[in-house]
Assembly symmetry: C2
Homo-oligomer: 247 residues x 2
């Protein structure tokens, strides 16, 4: 693993980051959310730099970014400490990705889907009220991709994401649109669980119902149709829960 506590410096450059700072950010973020520093204290800035073979500048900037995401807090003399999970910014795509990619994340995925039950039906209702013609075109395009994917001419996951993102954007509300990257991340992760259980492509008709209700400018129907869609996802996840762990 790239976040080893051994004396061997990690190769942070070849990792996910564009540069050393982002590599260290990713390594430390993963280490924190997987609980590596629950028993042992978080290292000092000098120790971190030595352990990972980088300068203090790189170390300080990575720590500052993790502080901005709510994972760390630094004070003179006291040192740098991991914040309680309740203050982590779960709506930061990095944090969410680190959390979902760790082991035992089915529970978190279920909780995020519980949030989608609140968000996406209301976004669909708003889209039905205020969505523009271009918004509707985007939603229809996502649906078309799902149909194409059923015929093996497109990627099922990408098409599914495109549809849900289009609905969120069509709400015309930036706070709803913000869930775009999070839903995409969650869907990409969830596919690792749900794909093993079910054919998973049965819901194109349900998606079409959402699109039709938005096209008909019928908020109530759009809301219930989307709620049905997400409800199926939650049901599916709760079937998996306790049964499997990610690859």
């Amino acid at each position: 693993m790239s976040t080893s506590l051994s004396t061997q410096p990690d190769d942070l450059r070849s990792g996910l980051g564009r540069n050393l700072t982002y590599g260290l950010l990713d390594a430390l973020g993963r280490a924190i959310v997987t609980g590596r520093y629950e028993k042992v204290p978080f290292p000092t800035e000098a120790e971190l730099a030595k352990q990972h073979g980088v300068s203090r500048s790189v170390t300080r900037e990575a720590v500052k970014m993790l502080t901005a995401k709510g994972l760390l807090s630094a004070r003179p003399r006291q040192g740098t400490v991991v914040q309680p999970a309740s203050s982590w910014n779960l709506f930061d795509t990095d944090v969410l990705r680190w959390l979902l990619e760790r082991q035992f994340s089915v529970d978190l995925l279920r909780q995020f889907s519980q949030l989608r039950i609140a968000i996406e039906p209301e976004a669909a209702a708003l889209a039905a009220q205020f969505g523009t013609g271009e918004d509707l075109r985007q939603i229809s395009a996502g649906l078309a991709r799902m149909e194409a994917a059923e015929r093996g001419q497109d990627d099922t996951l990408d098409a599914d994401i495109a549809f849900h993102v289009a609905v969120l954007r069509a709400s015309g509300n930036p706070f709803y649109a913000q869930f775009r990257d999070m839903v995409a991340t969650a869907l990409r992760t969830s596919i690792r669980f749900t794909n093993r259980i079910k054919g998973r492509t049965a819901s194109v008709a349900d998606h079409a119902a959402v699109r039709d209700a938005i096209a008909a400018k019928d908020p109530a129907t759009a809301r219930t149709a989307m709620r049905t869609l997400i409800g199926d996802v939650v049901e599916l996840i709760e079937t998996v829960e306790g049964t499997e762990t990610p690859a």
Copy 2:
């Protein structure tokens, strides 16, 4: 204003930040969301340091934090550029505070309240299903504070915040609980608008209805009761919209 582009370095230390880095973070965050760099390019790291009278270390760490919050992006040769507003992390309390405290924020407040319509009723429903006895005690305590505030024995705003935060936490879902700080920030900002319009303390009975439904473990009633509550807020804001600007 503390973010002047003049040649006079700002006194970042006396500002909101604990230190120079946080002072610069706050100053630059406000400047970005108020559109100061829409016409002029964002300064280079060397220019920033000179303008604000701080070292490049402080400058780079503040920029890195703003990058982590989605407001900036930095690349060699290209320089540091402000990201489009669609990629700002609106669920970061700093970003939300900067946005709400700027001028012309009534529209944003309305959009955030539109999100609360999705979140809080569902959180109330979850609280009715899964809330513990301690959760219910916290909700009742918040309600008691609102009643005390009506008699002038507590702060109305703090009591209102305590109630809504208690419901979010009682959902047992960390994603819902995450809205804690955002709702608090939004309420503190909204009071500047709504207080001038209405007595604003008329809703204690409505809040009690939410508590009672949660206590009775009746999710459907809790959901509709909370929806009524937030719906009133949206209605109030839409009354203000176009009428006033913040102090």
